[in-house]
């Protein structure tokens, strides 16, 4: 399978381990990634706060580039994913607005490819069964909660993911890896990531709540899908290690270089992994 890849700004910086693990894992699963050449920032939450056209045009330029590459476009950052999905929806369903965006960017949207999250790609296109067959080192004993955050699952009519109130795909994937995903009721509650730098006080309240609820559920760690949530959760507490789900996949698939990822974490996960015998 060949797909194009839009890492987004975070994966080249604060979420470098997400980038590394995705590349490694998808390679193992036989997916060929082509990074969209010369991609630009999607505008994140700043663009849609200040300028709607910009908020659609910035991601649309990336769609234009991906269109030339062919194949579905995989977008790991949930923030970027939702912005690209939004632009995709407008270009597909809202001709007046879409036409305006096309003019601003200077391209014609032809479609024929889907913007996908890696979770969707792995869980739905590759399939958990296939993944199951490739597991070399089941993550036995690892108890964690799946944290989907906001914009991977909402708004449902844009992202076209699962039930936004009770998504299950990440849980099933963690189960496939041999880990023990725990029941908790905060899987899609907001961590305040958008306010991380501007209203740190609020982000702190939300993060503290999430982490304490995860601990109450019995979790040793949290699995994430979004670099913004991940960073926000990591920088406001020191007790609960976090993993990008692709890192856990790398571990379970026995990818050697996974060792290099742990050093990138702000909260070192190695003590936990050692107690479970999952790393040296």
């Amino acid at each position: 399978m060949r797909v194009s890849y839009y890492p987004g700004c975070s994966l080249h910086a604060t979420a470098v381990e997400y980038d590394l693990s995705i590349r490694a894992v998808l390679q193992r699963l036989g997916v060929e990634l082509t990074e969209v050449p010369d991609w630009n920032c999607c505008g994140a939450s700043s663009a849609h706060s200040l300028n709607e056209t910009l908020a659609l045009a910035l991601p649309a330029r990336n769609l234009a580039l991906a269109q030339e590459e062919g194949g579905d476009l995989v977008v790991p950052c949930a923030g970027c994913f939702s912005r690209l999905k939004m632009a995709e929806k407008v270009l597909r369903e809202d001709p007046p607005k879409g036409g305006k965006i096309e003019k601003v960017v200077g391209f014609k949207y032809k479609g024929g490819f889907e913007v996908r999250s890696p979770l969707d790609l792995i869980g739905n296109l590759i399939g958990l069964e296939r993944l199951h067959n490739m597991i070399q080192r089941p993550l036995s004993g690892l108890r964690l909660v799946a944290y989907y955050g906001c914009v991977l699952v909402r708004p449902p009519e844009v992202v076209q993911f699962e039930d936004p109130e009770n998504p299950q795909l990440l849980n099933r994937l963690l189960q496939t890896l041999g880990a023990e995903p725990l029941e908790w009721s905060y899987a899609t509650d907001c961590c305040g990531g958008n306010l991380a730098l501007t209203r740190g006080d609020l982000a702190k309240i939300l993060v503290t709540k999430l982490v304490s609820k995860a601990r109450e559920a019995g979790a040793q760690a949290m699995a994430t899908v979004c670099p913004l949530c991940h960073m926000n959760l990591e920088m406001r507490q020191e007790e609960m290690p976090l993993f990008y789900f692709t890192e856990l996949m790398g571990l379970a698939l026995g990818i050697e270089e996974s060792k290099k990822w742990w050093g990138k974490h702000l909260i070192d996960p190695r003590p936990l992994l050692r107690t479970l015998g999952l790393t040296d």
Partner: protein, 182 residues
């Protein structure tokens, strides 16, 4: 319950403006409060999302645009997802922020606006984000000079924040997009 301001006359033009910009029909709101009940940051807002919609229905433009609520909204989309009347409130919050900026009105949450502006200025120049530049600009201007230094240093050490900015080849194209988007 506090009984405060008096509405003497309803001005539907603000409602129409926000409706048009956000693509929503705010008048459909029957004020069940489900949005506010599920909002993770409502506790910190001066008006919950439900009140914001109410004030738009009344045409209280200045009060709405001057509220902290529109900047505290974390765009988590919980409100719109659960709204029984298919009102995507996050889109409305976007529209309200956009109007505030376009009309150059004062904002209660200065730092949020500052952050967004700085963020976009970097994207406009480079085509991508450069976290170190953003922090270098944001910290002094937001008067948050030291709070993010320790974490920033830690990230730089771990190689998670490149020190040098990377400008994409098509940065001119991106600049043009900015210009055409107004």
């Amino acid at each position: 319950m506090e009984i405060s301001e008096t509405v003497v006359r309803v001005d539907p033009s603000f409602l129409q403006e926000v409706n048009q910009r956000s693509g929503q029909l705010i008048q459909l709101c029957y004020h069940c409060h489900k949005c506010t009940a599920g909002c993770p940051v409502a506790f910190a807002m001066d008006y919950g999302p439900d009140r914001v919609l109410r004030m738009i229905q009344f045409g209280l433009k200045e009060q709405v645009l001057g509220s902290s609520a529109i900047w505290i909204c974390a765009s988590c989309e919980t409100c719109g997802t659960r709204c029984p009347n298919e009102i995507d409130i996050a889109r409305i919050m976007d529209a309200l922020r956009q109007i505030t900026v376009e009309e150059g009105l004062p904002t209660k949450e200065r730092n949020v606006l500052l952050f967004h502006k700085l963020f976009l200025s970097i994207v406009k120049r480079l085509g991508r984000m450069h976290e170190a530049s953003l922090m270098a600009l944001y910290m002094p201007l937001s008067r948050n000079l030291f709070s993010y230094i320790p974490i920033g240093v830690k990230m730089i050490v771990k190689g998670k924040i490149p020190l040098l900015p990377h400008r994409i080849k098509g940065s001119d194209e991106v600049k043009k997009i900015f210009e055409r988007s107004g």
